[in-house]
């Protein structure tokens, strides 16, 4: 299912994203790695992983990005890296790569592991396609909001830590302004929440339509469903910040981070499900 050329491209993509992440981390602690330019590593990583996706689609003959667990994870990684590239080329948040690249690498590692050890072809019916597209895009948005939430928390801690004398003076432009990070978090949660809700609804309709046979009678007690609902509930709270202003700022960022962990856990649960239950 996954050829050795695809594995090679996967490894090269991981290395490129890893180099970008390390370079961003070095810049964050005040060191420069002149050999590794972050825009270059990001572009190289994107080209590699996109080529990998195209090659995989060509090898299966199905030109769908979410046709199996391997392509689903690679698609998520490509979209997340593309989002980072968009932000960095528009109005950079230098430290974004430091946090986003490990998530991209994690998604690619999950693709490599589950795509080869436990390959699973997703069903091509209408409910399944809508469910997968909305759920994965929703999850991707939640991952982004979690990453920006972490950046918000670190930046806010640095800014508040100044008066306690515990932190070095923050450097302007390293994290991006709190206002922008909050905006990014809230926008991605709004977008992700709508898609994820649609993903959950189509998922339930699909189970109802197909019968509970594929996931068992107590499908609602499966890790995938419980974790997905928990993540959805967390982001529902984040989404309601305008009517609960006390949640603004750090509390919201912490909730987004919890949501990020739950989203990642949901994805792992999906990948670990018995064949047929994941899609």
């Amino acid at each position: 299912m996954v050829s050795s050329v695809q594995i090679l491209l996967l490894v090269l993509s991981i290395l490129a994203y890893l180099a970008g992440g390390l370079s961003a981390m070095a810049a964050l602690v005040g060191k420069k790695i002149p050999v590794i330019s972050r825009p270059v590593t990001l572009c190289v990583g994107l080209v590699m992983s996109l080529t990998l996706l195209l090659l995989h689609c060509a090898s299966t003959g199905l030109w769908q990005p979410l046709q199996n667990n391997f392509s689903a994870m690679v698609t998520m990684a490509v979209l997340l890296a593309a989002f980072v590239a968009y932000i960095q080329f528009r109005r950079p948040v230098p430290s974004l790569e430091w946090l986003a690249m490990p998530v991209v690498v994690l998604l690619l590692l999950m693709a490599g592991h589950f795509g080869t050890a436990k390959p699973e072809q997703y069903l091509p019916n209408a409910y399944s396609v809508v469910h997968r597209v909305t759920s994965y895009l929703g999850a991707l948005s939640f991952l982004i909001s979690g990453v920006t939430g972490i950046l918000y928390l670190i930046s806010a801690q640095n800014l508040r830590g100044r008066k306690k004398g515990g932190h070095a003076p923050p450097r302007p432009g390293v994290f991006g302004s709190l206002e922008r990070l909050e905006h990014l978090t809230y926008s991605s949660v709004t977008f992700g929440f709508a898609l994820f809700t649609l993903g959950l609804i189509t998922g339930f309709v699909w189970i109802h339509h197909e019968g509970a046979g594929r996931m068992g009678a107590s499908w609602y007690l499966s890790a995938k469903v419980i974790l997905a609902l928990a993540a959805w509930a967390i982001f529902a709270v984040v989404l309601h910040t305008p009517i609960a202003p006390r949640l603004r700022g750090r509390k919201n960022a912490i909730l987004s981070i919890v949501g990020l962990v739950l989203t990642l856990a949901t994805m792992v649960a999906v990948l670990l499900m018995p064949a047929g239950g994941a899609s």
Binding site: L159, R162, K163, P169, S177, L178, P245, R248
Partner: protein
Amino acid sequence: MQRLVMIGMNHSTAPLAVREKIAFSNTQRELALGQFREKFPEAEAVLVSTCNRVELYAARPVHGRPRIDDLVAFVAAFHDLPESEVKAHIYERSNRAVAEHLFTVASSLDSLVVGETQILGQIRDAYEVSKKLGMVGNLLNPLFQRAIAAARDVMAATRLTEGRRSIASIAVEYARQIFENFRDKTVLSIGAGKMSSLVLQHFSELQVKRLVVCNRDQTRAQALASRFGGVAARMDDLMQHLAEADIVISSTASPAPIITPTMFEQVMKQRRWRPSFLVDIALPRDIDEAVGDLENVYLYNIDDLQEVAAATDSNRREAVQSARELVLKQVDEFVTWHTAREVGPLIEQLFSRSHNMARDEVQRTLKKLPDLSAEQRQHVEELARRIVNKLLNDPVQAIRESGTEASPFVRALAKMFRLRS
């Protein structure tokens, strides 16, 4: 002969919380100097009080007062504080070390932000106040004049003032880390003094939506607001303006905090917990430290901003080094000049007395040698004169080189040779 003494505390020896208790407002300074004169009528005094330091310089007769302990007791009593609290944070200097310290301070080499020029103006102000009150005389007058002139020379001759970051620009950098867009933000200045004006200038460049100046004196508020296209407001409406302001710059002369945690919690509720950036550049502080613990409040005081500004000093080590060398040279020149002025008349007396004695002895001897020719008599007189000069040369040189430590030598000399000191 006079002695120089001083005590002081600054940003490195005392935290802001202590400095704000010891600080003297302009009115308090004049009052304190008046009390000082009553207590030590023979002494001279200059009192320097800035947001970073409080220093009391005094000159007294050799055996007179005040001594260091008297200065500590005086400052503690003025502020109604226990002496131990003052003593725990002070540094003390005497004689040459006082001159060296003052020259270093005036040149901003002792400032948290090396190269800042404000301190020179503050030293000059302190000197002018003492001069107006007749509190500077033979020693502090030339000392402060020389220190001010030396600081100007140091700043002109070195690159000390180049490349430094101002407190205002650092405040703007912090604001940029909190806010992305300033076109929808309101800036509120509480107070309309010089510092507020400096900081507002930087914030007005961000093209904020609204700028409000809140001050007790409406004329000053109006003047400052119109400079930056803002509006003046009354202090009675402070709560309302705080709720509307995203950025607050506070610099009043209030002796107690004007913004408390309880009060600001109400403000934050009205703001629906939108982030609030507070810059407190007043001393004593205008904003209670606990306000900074409220969620979404980012509070910075003068020390926070100065510490960041000080971080740029490492880039100017070379300039600092040459400035220090120049300061030491200027101190040496002052001390030499001062010693010469102090011991000059005494040395003159010593030479005159010794030469008179030698001349008398030569005359007595020449009377016993009537056969000597005029040329031979002249040789003998010259011999006596040279012996006196050679004998006195080393001790006189030692006194001249002893600088402000010359007093014991001078006293001994006066006593041994029966001179009038």
